[in-house]
């Protein structure tokens, strides 16, 4: 039957060739449309998971104040401007109904953890205490004037004892001292001992100030470094101050001085400096991607795994560890790490105090308002989930860099309050307040923000080009839908027309086959088999060509917007890192689509041919023949 069926089709070669060609073309269009639709859908899904849309919050200054300072060059007062902030706005005001938050805005600090038992430097296996002070030329030492003096010009002091920093090798027993930024310096008495915080101010020579002021024979002048006022803030951001010690950079040392509150304050400051060198920064967050060095692709998990969403939500005691710190301390995923947290800083990102590139941690005063050292407020053991590697961006100076020896923990894992240990505070800034919204909801966010936004806050949203990519996918999707529609329409029309030609109009053949004793079932096979064979050939050719053309068409549709032009210049490099390589491979079609497309066309042919066959098969052969006679 099949042979006869095909033989009869081949005896009308033009019609059969037209059928084959048109079936092939329509299958090609259909296949192209289906492939493009599938690719755009699949790539879009993959993209949705690869991209993160974040927002950063910045409290605008309420104004600018002019601050005066003594200019040692002009010997008069000069002014500089300083941004002023009203009361810090709490992050809770951003909890606005309807916002498509995944992670709500949270004003996050970084914590410092004691790490005495760990190696925290890169080039030295252990902290060499004799180096303290040399790197920054800063010291705390006991000094004695050679004679009564007022240090409104460089005066000679006798170096008696180093309490922090080691200057004896270089400075022998005397230094030049000048309280150069003070219009009315305190007088110093000969024979008295003073504890001073000083740093060697080489800029005085470089800037020519010494020469301008007629001190050509003076070099290596030390000037005041820090005062002994504590640094402490309440949870609402208001400072806790003790103005008594503001600007106090030296104290007279008398018998029993170090047992007095002021003396203890000095010792606590010195202890704090030493502790800084044994501390590591701990960054709490609600998601790894909210940290800009991860978001920008400057860091990635190199060993182990990321902290999971549920671990973040549950506040699990797990952490991610910087690879250098892990290597120096032979830490691996699964190991535990003790993190005694002793202060929180909301003023700046950890990278400002723990620069990734620097050998040394910046020394900061670690005393509270009453002069006590910050004590540990949370002490837990964390299991290392993964180790991350910093691959770039450490010297961008944007505030978004990874810190040295960084540890990342779920914010919810710190269950003790840091309210008495807040050493630094700034209102919400891009570097300390980040949130995540659902991809593709930027317009919705702005719509709600326009209606319910908070005065004094600036929001910056960033999606690493997600919106542009989505637009590109939508273009592809539109094109694929058009092609799909055209393909389906063409397939149906072609099938209906040619099934009519090869089935319905074959009344004589149907009647004859039936009258010669061919059963209805075999007659059906006889009529349909040839059509299906032609359809199969056409579909195979069409879908294969369609599949081959898909990549090219997809590339044309996405040309210029796919992954490059979508980003601003400073984001492009990061975006390349953000996009996983396999995302690009997603544009390749799967075999299943051509197969499904072919199967759909084949099934449609089968059904339409079958339905048309039934029309003639229902009739008795003589009736069919009499219809032909009438026609």
């Amino acid at each position: 039957m099949l042979r006869n069926s095909i033989r009869q089709m081949l005896r009308t070669p033009v019609r059969t060739a037209a059928f084959l060609t048109l079936t092939g073309i329509s299958a090609l269009i259909l296949s192209l449309g289906a492939n493009l639709f599938y690719i755009s859908k699949k790539t879009e899904d993959a993209t949705k998971n690869s991209f993160t849309t974040i927002g950063m919050v910045n409290q605008s200054p309420s104004g600018v104040s002019m601050e005066k300072y003594w200019d040692p060059e002009t010997q008069g007062y000069a002014a500089y401007s300083r941004e002023q902030y009203d009361t810090p706005i709490p992050d809770s005001v951003l909890d606005i109904e309807g916002m498509p938050y995944i992670h709500k805005p949270k004003h996050q600090p970084f914590y410092a953890a004691y790490a005495k038992d760990y190696i925290v430097r890169n080039t030295h296996s252990e902290v060499d205490e004799s180096w303290w002070g040399i790197g920054s030329d800063s010291i705390i030492a006991e000094m004695e004037p050679f004679e009564d003096c007022v240090p409104d010009h460089p005066v000679k002091l006798h170096f008696k004892k180093s309490l922090y920093g080691n200057i004896t090798e270089r400075m022998l027993n005397q230094i030049w001292f000048w309280d150069y930024e003070n219009p009315s310096p305190e007088p110093l008495k000969a024979g008295k001992t003073y504890i001073m915080a000083l740093y060697m101010n080489s800029s005085l020579e470089y800037n020519g100030l010494l020469e301008k002021r007629g001190f050509e024979d003076v070099s290596a002048v030390w000037t005041p470094w820090i005062d002994i006022q504590g640094s402490q803030y309440k949870a609402d951001g208001s400072p806790v101050t003790d103005e008594k010690y503001e600007g106090v950079f030296f104290s007279e040392v008398t018998d029993g001085f170090y047992a007095t509150p002021e003396g203890k304050r000095w010792l606590n400051i010195i202890d704090g400096f030493k502790i800084t060198d044994y501390s590591i920064p701990v960054t709490p967050t609600d998601a790894t991607k909210l940290l800009m060095y991860f978001y920008n692709g400057n860091a990635g998990i190199s060993q182990g795994r990321d902290i999971t969403t549920s671990e973040y939500a549950d506040g699990a005691k797990v952490c991610l560890v910087d690879s250098k710190f892990a290597a120096n301390n032979q830490l691996n995923p699964g190991d535990t790490l003790r993190l005694p947290l002793f202060y929180a800083d909301y003023s700046a990102p950890a990278c400002r105090f723990y620069p990734f590139w620097a050998e040394q941690t910046l020394t900061e005063k670690l005393i509270d308002a009453i002069g006590n050292r910050y004590e540990v407020f949370d002490d837990s053991e964390y299991t290392i989930a993964g180790i991350y590697q910093v691959t770039g961006g450490v010297q961008d100076y944007t505030g978004f860099e990874a810190p040295k020896n960084g540890i990342i923990i779920p914010a919810a894992s710190v269950r003790s309050s840091d309210e008495n240990n807040i050493r630094g505070y700034m209102p919400m800034k891009n570097s300390n307040t980040v949130f995540q919204i659902e991809n593709g909801t930027m317009d919705k966010f702005w719509e709600i923000w326009d209606e319910k936004g908070v005065d004094g806050l600036e929001i910056t949203l960033q999606d690493n080009g997600y919106s542009e990519l989505m637009q590109s996918f939508q273009n592809t999707r539109k094109m694929s839908v058009i092609l799909l529609g055209a393909g389906i329409g063409a397939v149906l029309l072609i099938l209906l027309f040619f099934c009519h030609m090869f089935v319905t109009k074959q009344k004589i053949r149907t009647a004859l086959e039936r009258s010669l004793g061919v059963s209805r079932h075999k007659c059906r096979i006889s009529l349909i088999s040839g059509i299906l064979l032609i359809v199969m050939i056409g579909v195979i050719i069409g879908t294969v060509i369609g599949a081959l053309f898909t990549d090219r068409v997809a590339a044309q549709l996405n040309n210029g917007t796919k992954y490059s032009g979508a980003y601003s210049a400073n984001q492009s490099a990061a975006a390349e890192n953000v996009l996983p390589d396999d995302l690009l491979d997603k544009s390749h079609i799967d075999l299943i689509i051509p197969l499904l497309t072919g199967a759909a066309v084949f099934a449609a042919s089968f059904v339409s041919a079958l339905l048309m066959t039934e029309k003639n098969l229902k009739k008795e052969p003589l009736k069919l023949l009499s219809e032909i006679k009438k026609e």
């Binding site: 033989r7 005896r11 004793g517």
Partner: protein, 223 residues
């Protein structure tokens, strides 16, 4: 030997406006080796009778027996494939098959191998008086007489013992009409076929062994 026997068969069908009783209570029998002519005016029920005798349709009442077996209980496709074959007025050959392929068609249905089927078909074509050049000709390349001979050859290829012809000479000239009628008579005798010819041509009817006349669906006379 009686090959086919109809007992009180009736058939009616509905048109848009009326019910037409095409065949009414017809009883007749057909023996092997004889040629029968069924005559009558147009609309007398001849073709409907032939349709039922050929197993293309079943009577609504009455019975048809094929060599004693009730046709209604038989596989009618098989009956048409192996016992009864029909020749039509308009020849009705497969237009896209050659003469040889048309004759091979019923043989292939009976699973005769291609080579043997071709040999048998060629012999049958020769027997109906056509030359070998017609083997590869398509129906539209042949005359009406040639097409009808091929149709008879195809009917013979079924290999049964019953040949039904519906106005087999209706589209032929007198010369061809004579040839075809002669051929049908010859087949009934030489092959022991029961040949039933539906015709309103008295010349054709005259050459039959038995003439059955129909009027208004009834068999009114048998000569």
């Amino acid at each position: 030997m009686t090959i086919l026997k109809a007992e009180h068969i009736s058939y009616s069908y509905r048109t848009k406006y009326q019910t037409i009783e095409a065949v009414r209570d017809v009883s007749c029998k057909f023996d092997a080796g004889k040629m029968y002519a069924v005559t009558g005016e147009s609309g007398s029920g001849k073709s409907t009778l032939l349709s039922m005798l050929a197993g293309l349709d079943l009577p609504q009442s009455g019975r048809i027996y094929v060599q004693g077996k009730d046709l209604a209980a038989m596989d009618r496709d098989r009956y048409r494939r192996e016992q009864a074959s029909v020749v039509y007025q308009a020849f009705h050959l497969f237009p896209l098959l050659t003469a040889l392929e048309n004759v091979m068609f019923p043989l292939e249905l009976k699973k005769v191998k291609k080579k043997a089927a071709a040999e048998q078909a060629k012999e049958l074509i020769r027997q109906v008086g056509l030359s070998e050049k017609t083997f590869r000709q398509f129906p539209q390349m042949m005359s009406g007489g040639e097409q009808q001979r091929v149709a008879i050859a195809r009917a013979l290829a079924c290999g049964g013992n019953l040949l039904l012809a519906d106005e087999p000479t209706g589209n032929l000239d007198t010369e061809n009409e004579q040839h075809i009628v002669k051929l049908l008579c010859q087949q009934s005798r030489e092959r022991n076929y029961a040949v039933i010819v539906i015709t309103h041509n008295p010349e054709v009817a005259r050459q039959a062994d038995i003439i059955l006349k129909m009027r208004d669906g009834r068999l009114v006379d048998a000569c």
